[in-house]
Symmetry: C2
């Protein structure tokens, strides 16, 4: 297991990109004059809502499964996920012919449960707590010998997620900063690697719901703070940082900017109206953060924003 | 006025493209495996929901205003529109510094009224009938001397709308057919010109709401049938064909395929879920038509679909 403990570097993200691009979409970068006018920046939206399975999570999932040994592939994989990682792993598993089990909290949005099932994974329900998730995963792992692919605290997942920022940096030269939302921290960590380990580093910022502000509090206190089952409309960001992702937030992320639930909802709707892109509330967190006075980057700068996904229940919109 | 009576040809659409591309977005073509699986075709969605002002209408509007004389530009323009053409003309007017008045039916969606106002046009309300619209326009025209730019029955508008199909044909080689929704017929007529007057013509089909099936009935009977104020969720398709657009439907369009209100709503939602693109119900009409047994093109063929726009009221979704 020593391979799993190694913190990925830029070379790992670049290697991941060679695999990811064989299976994932090269997602477009969308701009909008009206968005720029409202926020006072040149915003470049890296549209992972247009990624396969509807979220950036496919990158880490397909990368992780591609690196399993033949024996591991035969035994199958298991994970827990509020939805996007589960759907992504299910799709990646189906591509590589790897049996996939996803432990899903009962409270996850129906549309995300349906996606996991739709991609052919076995779904097992648990309670919406860290403890219930982990015990359920361990039980099935013992029974089946399936390899656990965590949603974020896992080097191959982090390296895979970093390929989104890597692409963005290639697609849009001269970015002054990149911002992504932070939940468990797989995306922000991969983004940190892709953006900071360059000859000309690009500053990385994180947006976080004020209602699930473990990363903000961790960075303020200098110690990893976790929050169990926080309530926010940004359902992809309810998880807390892990042991591998916290150091990136602590040492590389310039600042974590928190946004209110109302700001998340308003920004989601504004982005839908102006860009015609369906983005999850979790994605709007990063854009809303750019609009806060706490965001320290000079106005009119070129800001890359990772749009995380577009999976949400159209029968239960937050406005 | 003799110039206005000339039916546009491919050379006119090509000339329009030179002007349109200076001001409009070159909109992307979006594909989706899951969409293709459902409908049994390779669908290429020409995303005019990502056009400026959120709809293909900007093409015809900006082309028409660009061709006015200096005196006409000074006197301003006027139109009537349920929304998208009005917003498009307002934006095009603002680009050329031409004062724009838009006569809007009181029943138009609020989001479309807001867009017209937001782009700086003068808005005048009328009743939702052809008669009320026309009398209101004539009254203001007499008072101000503004040039009337009709929403579809106008050569420069038709030539402008045809640039969407022209681009699509350049972006996606070897299309087996193109389908677009039909309302007043500006888009379908421009599409006919772009697709049929080529060395290798591409067959053109039209989708239409069964609740507003004037084009279907006209084509069946061989005579122009109009319907006053039909009720359909596809609010962009409530208008009937005009004298300039009817001949294209009669002579060039292979077939008009009608779809029910339920099919329109289901398809809109399916497209949102699968492509993460916000498209109007009017756009879903063309996709839903492809799914009907009446659509005669061989399965797995390459079908270009003009996605007309993405402007709708997010507080009043049709599901």
């Amino acid at each position: 297991m020593s391979q799993q403990a190694v913190v990925p570097k830029l070379v790992d993200v670049e290697a991941a990109a060679l695999i990811v691009r064989q299976h994932a979409h090269l997602t477009p970068v969308v701009t909008s004059r009206l968005l720029d006018e409202k926020f006072g920046y040149q915003l470049f939206l890296k549209c992972e809502n247009l990624q396969r399975a509807g979220a950036f999570k496919f990158r880490g999932a397909v990368h992780s499964i591609s690196r399993l040994t033949p024996e591991q592939k035969l035994a199958g994989v298991i994970t827990h996920s509020s939805g996007n990682h589960g759907a992504a792993l299910a799709l990646a598993g189906s591509i590589f012919g790897v049996s996939t089990t996803v432990v899903v909290p009962r409270t996850a949005p129906q549309v995300k449960k349906d996606a996991v099932i739709g991609y052919g994974a076995n779904v097992v329900y648990c309670e919406p707590t860290v403890k219930s998730r982990e015990s359920t995963v361990e039980k099935i792992q013992r029974e089946t010998g399936a390899k656990f692919i965590p949603p974020f605290n896992y080097p191959d997942v982090i390296a895979g997620q970093g390929t989104a920022a890597l692409e963005l940096i290639e697609q849009v030269p001269d970015l002054d900063a990149i911002i992504a939302p932070v939940g468990g921290g797989g995306l922000i960590s991969g983004t940190c690697i892709a953006a900071s380990q360059r000859s000309v580093p690009i500053p990385v910022f994180a947006g976080e719901p004020a209602n699930a502000d473990d990363a903000f509090r961790s960075k303020q206190s200098g110690q990893l703070v976790t929050i169990d089952n926080p309530q926010t409309i940004a359902d992809g960001l309810r998880t807390s940082l892990g042991s591998l992702t916290w150091p990136f937030v602590r040492d590389v992320v310039q600042q974590v900017i928190t946004v209110t639930e109302q700001e998340i909802v308003d920004t989601t709707k504004f982005v839908w109206t102006r860009t015609k892109q369906i983005v999850e509330p979790s994605s709007a967190v990063a854009i809303a953060a750019v609009g806060k006075t706490e965001f320290p980057v000079e106005k009119d700068s070129r800001i890359g924003v990772i749009i995380t996904g577009g999976n949400l229940d159209l029968d239960d919109l937050p406005w």
